[in-house]
């Protein structure tokens, strides 16, 4: 076997060991080295040079990037997730014919969909969806993300939140939490506009918090401008901060009419 490949494989073993130990600092350090080492392999996309160990190298590289994606979820780094996912993607699309399918493929694709949903990048979400095959759409991980998006769009926020309990993969939890936060932000935004104030009880129900305590924490962190008084949450101040500008319609109409008159006079 190619010495370079052996070296990378050994390095990867060390990475996996650290990964299992949840020693994320070591993981990150090793991953960076691994990625640099991977640039030496010419069989990897986008070059796809047919070297003798091509399949092996491709599989290894894919494995590394899959771990990288999972790692980024574990250390809760969305940017790293995006970066690693894009580098992993060619292994699922362009290299599909060159190496056996990976067990991690659908969970990771689903994760990515979830990420897009969390980041509220709906357009990209649908673009990704279009690229998936019919069998992929049947997959539980993908289905989960698709259903979530539907609920989200319908405004069935309680379903979104309850879906947290039915995640198909442990890594999803992170994004599900984020999603709950996104949903809550949506609801909070709407409530602000819709009501002057709400009783704490109602507010807790609307914002889907299991306890008042959590509601208070949320308000403290995300909406310090809300006031809690006499068992009510008062949104008023937020309203003042965004005064609605009135369109000076009468003035405009007057102006336009005078222009028209004068124009007629000139001509």
């Amino acid at each position: 076997m190619d010495p370079k490949l052996t070296e990378v494989s050994q390095q990867f073993e060390r990475f996996k060991a650290a990964f299992i130990r949840n020693d994320f600092d070591t993981c990150e350090r090793l991953l960076s080295q691994l990625k640099v080492s991977l640039t030496q392999f010419r069989s990897l996309p986008p070059l796809f040079v047919d070297t003798p160990n091509a399949t092996h190298e491709l599989t290894l590289a894919r494995d590394i990037y899959e771990h990288a994606v999972v790692l980024s979820v574990k250390i809760e780094d969305q940017e790293a997730f995006e970066r690693d996912f894009f580098q992993l993607k060619p292994y699922y699309t362009d290299a599909r014919g060159r190496l056996p399918p990976s067990a991690q493929e659908y969970p990771i694709l689903g994760l990515n969909l979830l990420r897009l949903l969390v980041q509220n990048r709906i357009a990209e979400f649908h673009t990704e969806l279009e690229l998936l095959s019919a069998t992929a759409l049947e997959n539980l991980c993908i289905k989960h993300a698709v259903e979530l998006e539907q609920s989200f769009m319908e405004g069935a926020y309680n379903r979104v939140l309850s879906a947290r309990q039915t995640v198909p993969h442990e890594t999803y939890v992170y994004f599900m939490d984020l999603l709950a936060k996104t949903v809550r932000d949506e609801i909070a935004g709407c409530s602000e506009k819709a009501y002057d104030s709400l009783s704490i009880n109602d507010a807790r129900r609307i914002l889907l918090f299991p306890s008042d305590q959590e509601l208070f924490e949320y308000i403290k962190e995300d909406h310090p401008e809300w006031e809690i008084k006499n068992g009510y949450v008062i949104f008023q101040r937020a309203k003042e901060s965004a005064p609605c500008k009135e369109i000076p319609s009468l003035q405009l109409i007057n102006q336009t009419l005078s222009y028209a008159r004068e124009l007629e006079r000139i001509v």
């Binding site: 990625k35 986008p46 894009f86 699309t93 362009d94």
Partner: protein, 948 residues
């Protein structure tokens, strides 16, 4: 890259994501891969350009240049060439000028454009431009690479464009064929360098390079020096060559002189002539007893000067130098070439008197316009041949001319005798106003005579270059002034016009060839309220930019052609296009084609003449197609212009090379014979047939010399000609633009040795048009029988006369036997055609034989412009040309100098005798010609007795 062709990733997303990695080696990896795939993924990459840009701007990133290159490529695909270029400059050495890709080509072109425009901006005095050193570096890399790859022409083009004279020099000196490269360089500096000052810089450099060469090409150097107007350089070169021991060098010097003369730059020639230092004179002058050769040459140059310069035989070197000096001065003064041309035109005269006869018969007597048109046609047909037979034979007819017609008839003599310098005065003497006495003849003819004298001497610069145009001679100028003081109003007017022409000369010369420098003057003139001044402005524009094909001038002219309110101005504007474009005749028909369909007849007329002027003598097929419909225009003067223009285009084009020539001749005949045709178009037709057969069918209209320089006299002559609208006698000015279509080989003594060379084409392609003979079907059908019999009779008379002349010739040639044989041979060619004139049978006989694929021509021979490319010199020939030119004056080297030379057309000893005796007929054709000139020529003018 190769593998990428087999499998292609569907997206560059992975690579773009990699750019965001923190590890620089990953960024580098991504960059280099992206750079390789940018051709496919630029749309995707373009969204990430900011990231790559920030990489480029990151001082710590060590592959900034790669990032710049990538951004540059993306911008290139987005067609943001300016941004692309600025990033490519940032890419430094990574931007590989030798890469064969569209990207590199486009950007290089862009870079060179940018650089060139910056450079030319920097050249302007009050503009400070900061040159990006990186841009300069790229252009230099490109230039160096071209030079290394041996693509010198490309390098030269770029160097000139970018004003990098240092690189230009390098490219030239490093090329494998320096001479070829240099001449290429001269060519492009003429056709593409529009700025006059810069062109001069280029030429100066070329001269410098030329001089550095081990074997300098003096011919080209002198051409350059002439363009630079540096007579000192030329004269020193000439002197060096003349002082050389080698005879070939002297030949070369003569050749240079001839070439310079061809460009007709009078003031320059004069300077060169004056700067040539005389031989070291010895106090003891042995004067007149110089050897025979010297005395023979004396008469060729200014007599007084030459006599003083004949030096003692004790100093042979100085003697040869003196001898050569007189020769070269003769050449530079233009006399030698004028004389030789005269000889050639006289001996090869093939004009067809029958055509004139037909015209004469068909025009109505009372119609003075047609009458004088016939006279013009005659004059043009015989321009420079000194054959005035037609006038002599039709004196009574001629005498019907009145007033201005008389004027032009007399002036016509001037055209016919053009170049006949020595005799000019005596010839015209009877008509010139007698000093003091007021003259007995008609004032009109006096005026005409003055005009004629002016034409005879035209382009023989005795005085300043200015005077050379209208009058050419201080004496003549004085004459004109004298006439002004006499009471005669009409003569006064003529003189006034002559003076006016002089002024025209001044005005045009002040702007002639000045290009940008004349802009302010032109601007003033064209803005003026007075249409006449605007009209003048058009001419100024035409002459200032003549032959430059300058886009700005063209645009301006086109603007005036369509927007001016005055018809004259519009007509002139279109016409002026012809002048601006004559160096590029193919363009003219395209540019004026729309104008030729204008609703305004004046514009159509202008378009016709513009084509005529710029395509003169080319026989260009598009030009003919454009003119054809105009010759049957509804407006008479448009037809006139079109006919004249057509004749100018078709001059010296044989029917064999373009069948439309024949059709056109028949059309002319028809118009002339048609009783119902308008006078205007009839006049046009008559003139056209004159131009078509101009100069005894041996001249063509040329505005460019062989070296592609403008011929000043020719251009101005044609410019004046184009104003004949206002004053018909201006038609004669067209004779200034005639130049003989001939090859004339000269030996060391400036004589014409007899030798043969090859024209590698069917003779019929370039032969003279068949003389219209009695049995030709067209004339038989068209002409009434009465005309036939008369013409036949006239023909008989002509034959008889010719026979008489020959008898005289033989008599005079009799005494010396050697000369007899020479003249016999020399005349043989012209005799043969003479036969065909006398006897009608040879023509059908010729048809029977299969035509040979080539033709042997004998020096001097008629070589029409389109024939030039098939001319070849025979290998075993005794004479070798100094310069490989297919036409014009060419000096030849004698490889067997010991053998006796056979001269054709040249004087035998007898005429030398007559020449030295002072009547200065000199090289007057063959002995017979000399005899005729001496015995017959001077007397006949008397018959022009006008009974008014």
């Amino acid at each position: 890259m190769a593998a990428a062709a087999t499998t292609m990733v569907s997206s560059a997303g992975g690579l773009l994501a990699m750019l965001n990695e923190s590890n620089p080696s990953l960024k580098l990896h991504a960059l280099s891969l992206l750079n390789a795939f940018v051709d496919h993924f630029w749309p995707e990459i373009s969204t990430s350009v900011p990231i790559i840009e920030s990489l480029y701007e990151d001082e710590e990133f060590d592959q900034r240049q790669l990032a710049a290159l990538l951004v540059s490529k993306v911008f290139y695909y987005l067609v943001e060439l300016n941004d692309s270029l600025s990033y490519a400059l940032g890419a430094g050495p990574l931007f590989d000028v030798s890469e064969e890709s569209d990207y590199v080509h486009t950007l290089l072109a862009k870079a060179i454009d940018e650089y060139a425009s910056l450079k030319s901006k920097a050249a302007e005095p009050n503009e400070a431009v900061k040159m990006d050193p990186r841009l300069e570096a790229i252009v230099e890399r490109m230039l160096d690479k071209c030079i290394l790859d041996g693509r010198y022409q490309q390098a030269i083009g770029m160097a000139i464009e970018c004003r990098r004279l240092d690189k230009l020099e390098e490219a030239i000196t490093r090329s494998d064929n320096i001479h070829a490269t240099l001449s290429y360089c001269i060519n492009i500096s003429h056709s593409y360098v529009n700025l006059r000052e810069y062109r001069q810089e280029v030429l100066r450099l070329l001269v410098k390079v030329y001089q550095k060469l081990p074997s300098p090409d003096y011919l080209s150097i002198c051409q350059c020096l002439m363009l630079l107007d540096e007579p000192e350089g030329v004269s020193s070169i000439l002197e060096k060559l003349l002082r050389s021991e080698n005879k070939d060098d002297a030949l070369l010097a003569f050749q240079i002189a001839f070439d310079l003369v061809e460009n007709e730059h009078q003031a320059f020639l004069l300077n060169v002539k004056n700067l040539l230092s005389g031989p070291k004179s010895h106090p003891s002058e042995s004067g007149q007893d110089g050897n025979g050769a010297a005395s023979e040459d004396v008469q060729m140059a200014d007599g007084t000067q030459a006599v003083n310069q004949i030096v003692q035989e004790a100093d042979p070197n100085e003697a040869t130098y003196a001898e050569r000096l007189t020769k070269i001065k003769g050449i530079l003064s233009g006399e030698t070439s004028i004389q030789l041309t005269l000889q050639f035109l006289y001996s090869h005269n093939k004009s067809d008197l029958l055509i004139l006869k037909t015209i004469k018969q068909s025009v109505e007597m009372r119609n003075s316009v047609c009458h004088s048109a016939t006279i013009y046609a005659n004059a043009i047909m015989h321009a420079g041949t000194t054959v005035d037979t037609f006038l002599r034979e039709n004196l009574d007819w001629l005498s019907r001319a009145t007033n201005w017609a008389k004027f032009s008839a007399t002036a016509g003599l001037g055209v016919i005798h053009r170049g006949h310098l020595q005799q000019g005065r005596s010839l015209m003497a009877p008509y010139l106003p007698q000093s003091g006495a007021g003259g007995g003849g008609s004032p009109y003819s006096e005026g005409g005579a003055l005009y004629a004298l002016g034409l005879i001497h035209a382009n023989h610069g005795e005085g300043l270059g200015l005077a050379a145009l209208g009058t050419a001679d201080e004496d003549v100028y004085d004459d004109i002034k004298n006439v002004l003081y006499t009471d005669s109003a009409v003569a006064g007017e003529a003189a006034g016009i002559s003076m006016g022409l002089l002024m025209v000369g001044t005005a045009t010369l002040t702007v002639y060839g000045r290009e940008e420098e004349a802009d302010t003057l032109i601007e003033q003139m064209t803005r003026d309220q007075d249409p006449i001044l605007r009209y003048g402005g058009m001419y100024a524009l035409a002459l200032a930019y003549s032959g430059t094909a300058n886009n700005k001038a063209i645009r301006q002219l086109l603007h005036f052609a369509v927007s001016d309110v005055n018809n004259d101005v519009r007509r002139t504007a279109v016409l002026a296009l012809g002048f601006v474009l004559y160096s590029d005749p193919e363009q003219t028909p395209r540019i004026v084609s729309l104008l030729s369909e204008s609703y305004n007849p004046h514009v159509r007329y202008g378009a016709a003449l513009a084509v005529g002027i710029s395509c003169a003598g080319t026989g260009l097929s598009e030009a003919i197609s454009l003119l054809e419909p105009l010759t049957s225009d509804v407006v008479d003067f448009v037809r006139q212009g079109a006919l004249i223009a057509m004749a100018m285009v078709m001059v010296q084009i044989s029917e064999a090379s373009d069948s439309r020539v024949g059709a056109f001749r028949r059309q002319l005949e028809k118009i002339i014979l048609d009783k119902h045709e308008d006078t205007m178009s009839k006049m046009g037709a008559i003139l056209a047939s004159g131009i078509l057969d101009a100069g005894g069918r041996n001249v063509t209209i040329k505005l460019l010399s062989r070296t592609k320089h403008d011929k000043i006299t020719a251009v101005v002559g044609l410019a004046v000609f184009s104003q004949f609208w206002y004053w018909y006698p201006l038609i004669y000015f067209i004779s200034l633009s005639f130049s003989p279509a001939a090859f004339i080989g000269l030996n060391y003594d400036l004589k014409i040795p007899r030798f043969e060379f090859l024209s590698h084409a069917k003779p019929s392609l370039f032969e003279y048009p068949r003389p219209t003979t009695v049995p030709t079907t067209t004339s038989a059908v068209k002409l009434p029988t009465a005309v036939l019999s008369i013409s036949a009779k006239a023909k008989a008379r002509a034959t008889k006369k010719e026979a008489d002349q020959k008898a005289i010739a033989e008599k005079s040639a009799g005494p010396e036997s050697s000369a007899g044989s020479n003249t016999g041979k020399g005349k043989s060619t012209s005799d043969k055609d003479g036969d065909s004139m006398q006897v009608d049978s040879p023509a059908p006989e010729k048809k029977a034989e299969p035509e040979p694929a080539f033709e042997i021509l004998t020096n001097p021979a008629r070589v029409v412009p389109s024939q030039e490319k098939v001319i070849k010199f025979l290998e075993e020939s005794r004479y070798v040309p100094i310069k490989l030119a297919p036409s014009g004056f060419v000096l030849v080297k004698d490889l067997r100098p010991t053998e006796p030379e056979v001269l054709s057309l040249t004087d035998a000893p007898s005429s030398t005798g007559s020449a030295t005796s002072g009547s200065a007929t000199g090289q007057q054709g063959s002995a017979s010609a000399a005899a005729m000139a001496v015995d017959e020529e001077p007397q006949p003018p008397q018959p022009f007795e006008y009974t008014s």
